[in-house]
């Protein structure tokens, strides 16, 4: 291949510049070839472990499959999404419980990810400062994240218990509340309780990623800023924040992805009524509790579409550089 190109290219006599297609050099070609070789294992593994289950889910969303018998189903088009029988509308898109769960999820994501981002930056900035015991602090902030969600959700459920929960006890002792609050039973406070636990649990994730970004910043710009006598707050907004933005956005995107799929926290902490259900809780209920693989898959596909839409908007708004070009 390279030989042919080499020979053909020898008698170059200034061809029309505009019509020249870039003829990649050995270096570029070897880089591109290496890139594909490097990507191949990742792509193969992802195609293998994700491709089939995902394709299957999307396919099932157009069928009436039931968990009881997955081999016997019929293709029913968009009926799981929306359908009309005898003047009455059926399908997820007409189900108020679904839209309620969408709203719950989006609200939860917006609130918790915002709080986590701000707190995460603060924690990361503190951990980035040199002080004795910094290593220990790093370990400490990771503890909430290290406790399995299965456990920490139950733990908080216990701590938030209205009768013998330690949170109410503390607040009562501190005189902040007059009577115990029924944190998780009341749908008004339940989602806030979920947000609180989520913030407690995943701020370390944000903090650590932001910390890594901070650590990779060159130190001299800070020295320059110090010499110039710029106020630290200004330095943060004008220098630090723009520089860590790519990493910050990736952290936010992945947190948002997780938050939009929130399941265990809401499942364990709240009463699971329709008022507090998230999209994933809804999907799981259809899929597992009701054996409606078709409906559940449709809900999952809708979750995928909604998340994809939100992420694309985020990426566009944040102007994340994807492979050089701005999306």
């Amino acid at each position: 291949m390279s030989q042919i190109v080499g020979q053909a290219a020898l008698p170059v006599s200034a061809p029309a510049f505009e019509n020249m297609r870039e003829r990649p050099s050995r270096l570029t070609r070897s880089k591109v070839r290496a890139a594909w070789i490097f990507l191949a294992p990742t792509l193969i593994i992802l195609a293998l472990i994700a491709g089939w289950p995902l394709a299957r889910t999307i396919w099932f969303s157009f069928t009436d499959a039931s968990l009881n018998n997955l081999s016997d189903y019929e293709f029913i088009g968009f009926e799981n999404y929306i359908a009309n029988y005898d003047g009455e509308w059926f399908g997820i898109l007409t189900d108020p419980a679904w839209w309620r769960s969408v709203w719950n999820t989006v609200w939860f994501t917006l609130v918790s990810v915002s709080i986590e981002t701000v707190l995460g930056i603060a924690v990361a900035l503190i951990l980035n400062a040199a002080f004795p015991g910094r290593g220990l602090m790093r370990a400490i902030i990771l503890i909430p994240w290290a406790i399995p969600t299965v456990v920490s959700a139950k733990m908080w459920n216990w701590m938030l218990h209205d009768q013998f929960g330690v949170i109410n006890d503390l607040l009562l002792r501190l005189g902040l509340i007059a009577a115990p609050i029924t944190w998780t039973a009341n749908s008004d406070t339940a989602l806030w309780a979920v947000v609180m636990v989520d913030v407690w649990k995943t701020t370390p994730f944000m903090a650590l990623l932001i910390l890594a970004a901070l650590q990779m910043l060159p130190g001299d710009i800070y020295e320059a800023a110090k010499v110039d006598g710029i106020h630290p707050v200004r330095v943060f907004f004008k220098v630090t924040l723009p520089l860590i933005r790519p990493a910050l956005l990736v952290a936010v995107i992945f947190r948002a992805l997780d938050a939009l799929r929130v399941f265990d926290l809401i499942y364990v902490l709240t009463s699971n009524s329709k008022d507090t259900a998230s999209m994933s809780v809804f999907a799981r209920q259809q899929l597992v509790d009701f054996q409606e693989v078709g409906l559940g898959s449709a809900a999952s596909t809708l979750i995928f579409l909604i998340i994809a839409l939100l992420i694309v908007v985020t990426i566009a708004a944040g102007r994340v550089r994807l492979g050089g070009e701005t999306l």
Binding site: N68, H161, T182, A185, V288, D289, F290, Q291
Partner: protein, 421 residues
Amino acid sequence: MRRSSLASLAFVTGLAVTASAHAVEVSISCSALGQEYEICKQGVDAWAKKTGNNVKIVSTPNSATERLALYQQLLAANAPDIDVFQIDVVWSGILGQHFTDLTPKAGATIDQNFPSMIETSKVGGKLVAMPWFADAGLLYYRKDLLEKHKKPVPQTWAELSETAKAVQDAERQGGKGDFWGFVWQGRAYEGLTTNALEWIASNNGGTIVDAKGDITVENPKAAEALKLAAGWVGTITPEGALNYTEEESRGVFQAGNALFMRNWPYAWSLAQGGDSAIKDKVGIVPLPKGGADGRNAGTLGGQLLAVSRYSKNVDAATDLVLYLTGPEEQKRRAIQGSFNPTLPALFKDPEVTKANPFMGDLLTVFTNAVARPAAVTGDNYNKVSTEFFNAVHNVLSKKAEPDQALSRLDRDLKRIKRSGW
């Protein structure tokens, strides 16, 4: 492990024909750990010893919904990994098609069980599981406090409300600020269905869906029962109870902070445990009636044993199920683990009543127990139950009036039913 290698050794050495016919390995999912595991293991080992087979116990999630999800996953994939499944009474309709019909093998033993237990084990005329042990909702009360305040054990829900209110007020005045009258399971989950079904059934309000499959839940009796229950929240029941499961309510009760509790029989031995604040101060009775003309109705719970269609050793597995659900084993379990037998005869067995003095009283509870409409709604039971507990939860949290909630529930259930369950 060692056993199976012994078995294969036997195979190699030419004892093959006879040995392999017996030495199969059967795996059973019985409850995960602790005392229940021990008791299960003893029974299983006894059978293994008797038949020469191996039994592997597979532990499954403690939470009912997670366990059901796991079962569905395994069964939907036709996986032969578990031969014998321990299932909840309300799952027979959902999972029934994956299980073998035990009728021919079980034969006469079927009729020795509580009819309600057999009813719930049947799907489309086939016996898909054998009853293993029974459960039913009970009313726990504080003997000492009722005596102290000179109140009788309530016979109706109305009486319970009054007594609870009176004692609660008195106790609170006596300095126990966080004392409550009555705790139960109000979280929007299956437990609420069992609780609410007790209120409605005891008030002659039916069982949501009747045996013929007709939706009966929209009726004044049911609305009346829900109205009463909604009145408890915030007065004799903490608002937090709207997110309580069994353990949270037991927590409040066992800490001595409640007069009444609705719970399953399991709480008895714990409340009587050495470190319990209310040891020897607790009594249990059937749940109250809805009124003078009502009835005592505890929701029927309990577990069944079923044999997977995909099992490679259906015969051995069936044998194991029949052994475990047989009178001998049930008696042993009743004596050693306080598991309530599904065979009425055992409640009068002197050895059993000696070990569990309260068990004699439970016979009436079980005979009167009300079954959830699981068998009749089949696949759709979870949907029915979910709609039901969501509707009830709305009433309890004062988001809807009972009439209104029940009428909407009726509509939603009809929508689920459409052309039939």
